[in-house]
């Protein structure tokens, strides 16, 4: 049944790839037959936290914890464990903030450029914006 597919092989599976497939998936057997040993769901969630670097995990979209206060509060000190989290702040948080700011700037710039403001030559961008505020 092994199907060798011609052409290039897909990239080799990483630990993160495997975990994405294995954790919380597969047939569950209900009933008394199964021995309940550990809260695998909970542990597997926690494992995601440690999977490879925060970078890899983020690539996998497994970055839910970056929005979790419990984890992010530890990160603010720039702890060794999360060494790859830039600046110690949750990347997703920064990303979201960046996006918000970027969109705000874009909206502002759009508003300004729509009005053209040709005669108000040069000056600094600051004053342009300020004057526009006054006009409202």
């Amino acid at each position: 049944m092994t199907q060798s597919v011609s052409g290039r092989n897909p990239r080799p599976d990483t630990l993160a790839d495997v975990l994405e497939r294995v954790l919380d998936k597969g047939v569950v057997i209900a009933g008394d037959i199964v021995v309940n040993i550990l809260d695998i769901e909970l542990l597997s969630l926690k494992l995601r936290l440690f999977v490879a670097s925060a970078q890899t995990a983020q690539e996998m979209g497994m970055d839910w914890w970056t929005r979790d206060e419990f984890f992010t509060s530890q990160g603010s000190g720039g702890s060794k464990k999360n060494g790859e989290v830039e600046g110690g702040r949750a990347p997703a948080e920064l990303e979201a903030e960046n996006n918000q700011l970027r969109e705000r700037i874009e909206r502002l710039e759009q508003a300004i450029s729509d009005r053209e403001l040709p005669e108000r030559s040069e000056g600094s961008n600051r004053s342009g914006k300020a004057q526009q505020e006054e006009e409202r």
Binding site: M1, V5, G7, P10, R11, V18, K25, I29
Partner: protein
Amino acid sequence: MTAGDARGLYLFAIVGSTAVDLSGLPGIAGGDSPRLVGSGDLAAVVTDVPLSALDVREEEVTEDGRLARMAMDHDTVIRAVFEQTPALPLRLATVVGDEDAARRLLEERSAEIRDLLARLAGHQEWGVRLRREGAAPDANTERERDRAARPSGRDYLQARREALRASQEQRHAVRQAGDEVYRALAEHATDATRLSGGGAADLLLNATYLVPIAATQEFRDVVEKYATDLAAGGVQVELTGPWPPYSFAQVTIGSQAAADG
């Protein structure tokens, strides 16, 4: 929790064949190689495990810790089995008391098991991710260049407006590309599902497909086509697989307690 020396039977997968070569495969937690426990034409791929080995403590939950190794061993065995015969992957850390319990499971749930095996037979799972490379670098470089050249305010605004429109169009197109690719590939698959994208801003699509083995080449050709088409727009297509049908075996067997044995 569990007594120190108590042992159980770890279940990797259920197969519809009693002829599966398991030699050389890892057990769980460094235990014995897996073996088959059969009942009729169904069999469970199992290994003995001390229950204490599965008693993972929180501080052991690390990248190379016990749980991670268990996940890798689990996958290694299931993959090897799956390459030989259709297999139902069981949830990580599924343990029954002993061989009798395993046989009882196979007998009592044989109808459900057969149905599932039949549905998944002749299929493999393939994962497809679409990732945007270096999100919107154009707008930024543009901004830098503008700043360096110190253009007039008017030129600046004009350039910015164009860049804005371009980046908006690009963002829109890119979002649509994810949906389009998902649907287009689904047409070449028996089943499809989207995996969690989490909050990753550059991940446009994280999907997985149940593909008939006979249609593998066709599926991969379509993936290849999109990879080529989207590369120009800075979107990278990643393909993983073939996988055992983990994502399409998310089923609970025996919803009412099977305790009447």
